[in-house]
């Protein structure tokens, strides 16, 4: 896949990681005490404490890794300096060179076809002579 599509995919990956992170945290967060009037909510932890502490670490590590990957892809962008005008100038130069090369090729081709015709003519004459000689024998 070309580099710009990879960058676009990476942006979308970062977005999906971000909202997966927040969604998971929101879904799995234990109830919290909002006001001093209400009693402390029952904390039923057994394996939930370790999991709930692990998940943010893993997810945020994945998020930061995706962001670093994005930076690496940006560094790999082959953006040439000079911008649009420089590119257009180069295209015009290359087109001129291409036309010159094409004409040279055409000249060589015509000369080669000319020589081919001559050789074929000579070959026909030689073959005719051979046949005539054979007939005379």
């Amino acid at each position: 896949m070309d580099i710009i599509s990879q960058l676009q995919e990476q942006v979308n990956t970062i977005a999906s990681l971000a909202f997966n992170t927040f969604g998971t945290l929101q879904r799995d967060a234990p109830p919290v005490r909002l006001s001093p009037n209400y009693p402390e909510p029952p904390a039923n932890s057994s394996e939930s404490a370790t999991d709930i502490a692990e998940q943010p670490k893993l997810m945020s590590a994945a998020l930061v890794k995706a962001a670093k990957q994005f930076d690496a892809l940006v560094a790999a962008l082959p953006v040439s300096e000079g911008g649009e005008e420089a590119q257009l100038k180069r295209i015009v130069e290359l087109q001129a060179e291409n036309d010159a090369g094409g004409q040279e090729l055409q000249k060589q081709l015509e000369a080669a076809e000319e020589e081919l015709k001559q050789v074929q003519e000579l070959f026909n004459q030689a073959a005719d002579n051979c046949l005539n000689l054979k007939k005379l024998d």
């Binding site: 070309d2 710009i4 960058l7 676009q8 942006v11 970062i14 977005a15 971000a18 927040f22 929101q26 998020l63 930061v64 962001a67 994005f70 930076d71 940006v74 560094a75 962008l77 082959p78 953006v79 040439s80 911008g83 649009e84 590119q87 257009l88 180069r90 295209i91 290359l94 087109q95 060179e97 291409n98 090369g101 094409g102 040279e104 090729l105 060589q108 081709l109 000369a111 080669a112 020589e115 050789v119």
Partner: protein, 169 residues
């Protein structure tokens, strides 16, 4: 028994192409390509495909405007902004959960800017591809010229040799 609709008949101007085999010019030419704007299924489309700027879509542009934008620098700084905003959202959700909306809006604004920058890189990529193709073509043509020259020289050498052997006989 269900009644099925038949296909629509072919357009009536097929009769104009009756003698196309004998005389291709006796039949009307196909219509020329459309220029400018055209109407399709009730919506207006333009033939000039250009990326609409962010202001046209009502989105604030975060990176500096200019004719020559340093894409790498802007992409990297937008990435950093994005990370900071995600962190800010996490903080807001912990301390003042009711104020998430503004932060979420900021994050989506950054994403829109990122995608717009990437789309703006596409014309540059197209021109670079064109340059690459032209260079390849020039190289191929040069190679072909060299090949033809070499073959012609080989053929001339063979002819001279054969002339020599014939004369020797």
């Amino acid at each position: 028994m269900a009644a099925t609709a038949t296909y629509p008949p072919p357009p009536p101007y097929y009769r104009l192409y009756k003698d196309y085999i004998e005389n291709p010019k006796s039949a009307p030419e196909p219509p020329p390509p459309i220029q400018g704007t055209y109407l399709l299924y009730g919506a207006n489309y333009t033939t000039d495909e250009v990326l609409p700027s962010l202001e046209d879509q009502g989105v604030r542009q975060l990176y500096p405007k200019g004719s020559n934008i340093d894409f790498k620098k802007e992409l990297r700084s937008l990435n950093r902004e994005l990370q900071l905003h995600i962190l800010e959202l996490a903080d807001v959700l912990v301390e003042r959960p009711s104020q998430y909306a503004r932060r979420v809006e900021d994050i989506s604004l950054i994403f829109k800017n990122l995608h717009h920058l990437l789309n703006a890189l596409r014309p540059h990529q197209a021109r670079a591809t064109l340059i690459h193709i032209l260079e390849l073509q020039i190289q191929r043509r040069k190679q072909a010229v060299e090949d033809i020259k070499r073959r012609r020289e080989d053929a001339q050498k063979l002819l001279k040799e054969s002339l020599g052997t014939l004369d020797g006989q």
